[in-house]
């Protein structure tokens, strides 16, 4: 192969991996890569912060199922990626992050913009590389995409010193990866699958508990076949929303801390839990010693470390959910679940999700209207906190890859850049970020990225002028001591305002409508319930980014709620 620079090799590799879009910010240690980038076929989006770039790559990956790619310079560029890498790592999202590094000879010298990227990103990535020889670059690029997208997916970081980008090599691009240490199990053990089928056949009160792994493996159809053939109800985790249509009679919607009453009751009373691509997170299980005490557990996961980590698995099945579920459906003898389904139908009737549907402007109503007016066809991203939970509860998900949210890490500021990434990958889709007034300010600068690149994302701020979820905990568990959760608290406010909201300053900071306009987006303020639908309709018709500032009830709470450390059937609210 003819000689070319390391920078050229990187672009060649990206094109060979069919990378269409990329997000990032240039800098001194990646200037050689950028010198090749604007001559390539890759569409590049210049974000306003590296955190925006990595979340956008993550949102792109979640919405399209392809690997998301981002690039940042050495030092602060790389450290700014850390939160986004950790977000992708916790939620098993395939991302490849390229970082510049100071020249090889300067490494360890505390050079300008030097950071130990390999060490800093080790625990927030699936794997990472420091390229020490330009001849290794084609192989490392190939391996990185392979590792990011196979097995349990995750982010991979490639740290590339500046001299390596400039050095020349004739090393060819490998056709295949040859890694003796990395061969994720794809096919589940047939004996284990048979045992799982037998357990299902014998069960009386089975529940499928489906997680993000169903979406990652693209096995939502196989899951549907299993549930409908065996007549087993399905609850999904936050990460699993969309893996099973919530409109289906067997759907129990989300479980866990803010899950539905009926999903949590079903988990408590089940005699068999079939976990698929889920990891028994503490927000799902509640008090672990009380969890699933009556149930046997079938645990299907491609990552052996997920199995038996926090909950014992009676029948572990290591393998790709798509393969395992397909085999399971083939050999399964459906159990008799009529009585169980009847019981669950009663719970669904008695404990439907609800809120006070009165004259006040309530956040749940806004989310319901977003669902209604987009006909459930939108891609929803969320920030983190109350907005995220209401988006999970009151929008009805029927398709995979339509709900983008930081589940594991809980990263505020994720939603807007993720929406931008999704919109970049799927230009014909309506992409809506359901946001809070706290979270949105953590990456609001990306409104510039959306506007400059004609990415017409819609930002719906559920503005309660609080860091709402923390305020809710303060209300419920800290005697209403709203210590620093009011986002409108000013230095001249009384130290304890007693939440006498009548005396609050009339003007909120920031003025989100003016802020949207400053970036070139359309800003709309909604203060009354009857204005909600017209505003959303207007936003959906506008072919540019729109931000709606919904000035909602200040002290609305997310219910039902399982208090931290309580068992799943000890729910507050939603029981009326």
């Amino acid at each position: 192969m003819k000689q070319r620079t390391g920078a050229k090799v990187i672009i060649e590799s990206l094109e060979r991996e069919k990378v269409e879009v990329m997000f990032g910010i240039p800098g001194g240690a990646v200037i050689d890569i950028f010198d090749e980038l604007n001559r390539s076929s890759i569409r590049f989006y210049l974000t306003r912060h590296e955190q925006g770039a990595v979340h956008a790559a993550d949102g792109y990956a979640r919405a399209t199922g392809k690997v998301g790619v981002c690039i940042a310079t050495s030092g602060p560029g790389a450290t700014n990626l850390v939160t986004g890498l950790a977000t992708a790592h916790m939620d098993s999202i395939p991302v490849v992050a390229l970082t510049g590094q100071v020249p090889s000879g300067m490494i360890g010298n505390d050079a300008f913009q030097e950071a130990y990227t390999l060490g800093i990103t080790r625990s927030v990535s699936k794997h990472n590389y420091l390229v020490k020889n330009v001849d290794d670059l084609p192989r490392i690029m190939k391996e990185a995409f392979h590792i990011a997208s196979t097995g349990r997916p995750g982010p991979v970081v490639i740290d590339i010193p500046k001299d390596i980008q400039q050095a020349r090599t004739s090393a060819p691009h490998p056709k295949e990866v040859a890694m003796r240490g990395y061969r994720p199990t794809q096919q589940g053990h047939l004996r284990q699958i048979k045992q799982a089928a037998e357990a299902i056949g014998r069960s009386e009160r089975p529940v499928i508990y489906a997680g993000g792994g169903v979406i990652a493996s693209g096995s939502h159809k196989e899951l549907y076949n299993l549930a409908t053939k065996a007549q087993i109800p399905v609850t999904t985790t936050l990460m699993g929303l969309g893996a099973f249509p919530e409109t289906h009679p067997l759907a129990l919607k989300m479980l866990g801390m803010h899950g539905t009453v009926y999903a949590n009751y079903a988990m408590v009373e089940a005699d068999l839990i079939i976990a698929v691509g889920a990891r028994f997170d503490d927000r799902v299980t509640g008090k672990i010693s009380e969890f699933a005490r009556r149930a046997r557990v079938v645990h299907i996961d491609i990552d052996p470390t997920s199995i038996g980590k926090s909950v014992r698995a009676d029948i572990p099945v290591v393998g790709d959910a798509k393969y395992v579920l397909r085999e399971l459906v083939k050999i399964l003898e459906p159990p008799q679940t009529d009585a169980w389904l009847k019981k669950i139908a009663g719970w669904k009737r008695d404990y439907a999700l609800s809120y006070a549907d009165d004259e006040a402007l309530r956040p749940q109503y806004v989310v319901e209207q977003v669902h209604k007016l987009t006909k459930g066809k939108a891609i929803i991203s969320t920030e983190v906190g109350q907005n995220q939970m209401w988006a999970a509860q009151f929008y009805t998900y029927t398709e995979p890859r339509t709900f983008l949210s930081s589940g594991g890490l809980g990263t505020m500021g994720y939603g807007l850049p993720a929406a931008i990434g999704a919109q970049a990958g799927l230009p014909d889709k309506t992409v809506v970020d359901i946001a809070g007034d706290g979270s949105i300010q953590m990456n609001i600068q990306e409104l510039a990225t959306a506007c400059m690149n004609n990415l017409p994302v819609k930002v719906m701020i559920l503005n309660n002028r609080f860091l709402g979820m923390v305020r809710q905990w303060q209300e419920l568990f800290y005697d209403k001591n709203y210590s620093f959760t009011c986002l409108q608290q000013r230095s001249d406010c009384p130290p304890d305002c007693k939440q006498n909201f009548e005396e609050c300053p009339k003007e909120n900071i920031p003025d989100f409508v003016k802020l949207a306009e400053a970036y070139g987006a359309v800003g709309i303020r909604v203060t009354k319930k009857k204005e909600v639908a017209p505003a959303i309709r207007k936003a959906l018709k506008t072919d540019k980014p729109v931000l709606i500032d919904f000035v909602v009830e200040r002290e609305e709470n997310v219910y039902p709620m399982v208090p931290a450390g309580a068992s799943l059937n000890e729910m507050m609210g939603g029981m009326a």
């Binding site: 390999l118 060490g119 080790r122 625990s123 699936k126 794997h127 420091l130 020490k132 590792i147 890694m179 003796r180 240490g181 990395y182 990552d303 052996p304 470390t305 038996g308 980590k309």
Partner: protein, 160 residues
């Protein structure tokens, strides 16, 4: 429970850091860790002794297997492997008391590797228990300095 795990890893940059990091990230306790190249210079063998209940040990093995640079994880159970450790122990010893130290050294098959006016350095190798016993026996003479290798292990029989 104590378990000896042998891990074959790629002999490349940063692999040791990755494995050590895994232990601190997950809160596992390492008793000892030994790394050296194998006959194949592209592969290193790590011998790790860990403590924990069965659930923890299972997680340790799984997490080690999950490291991309890990080629193979072998768990040794009682009786299916041989384990050896080495210790270098510098014992304070005047010429007068030396005979007693040498007696212990002889009984434990320890070698004398360095001698001075006020000290004697012994090298002992054996099973971890034998090495521990040796250290206990020389301890009353006054141990100035000590270095232990931590155990290395291979399986019994032909299988590799």
């Amino acid at each position: 429970m104590r378990e000896t795990i042998s891990v074959l890893v790629e002999n490349s940059f940063g692999v040791l850091a990755r494995v050590v990091d895994l232990f601190s990230t997950r809160g596992f306790n390492i008793d000892s860790l030994n790394v050296a190249e194998t006959l194949d210079p592209s592969v290193s063998r790590m011998t790790i002794v860990v403590r924990g209940d069965e659930a923890i040990l299972e997680q340790v093995r799984k997490q080690l297997s999950k490291v991309i640079d890990t080629i193979k994880v072998v768990r040794f159970a009682e009786g299916d492997h041989v384990e050896r450790e080495m210790a270098l122990v510098k014992v304070s010893s005047s010429k007068r008391g030396r005979a007693e130290v040498l007696e212990v050294a002889h009984a434990c098959h320890a070698d004398i590797v360095d001698v001075g006016d006020a000290f004697i350095t012994l090298s002992a190798a054996g099973t971890p228990d034998q090495v521990r016993t040796f250290i206990e026996l020389v301890r009353p003479f006054g141990v100035v300095e000590m270095a232990r290798s931590g155990p290395v292990a291979v399986s019994r029989g032909k299988r590799g």
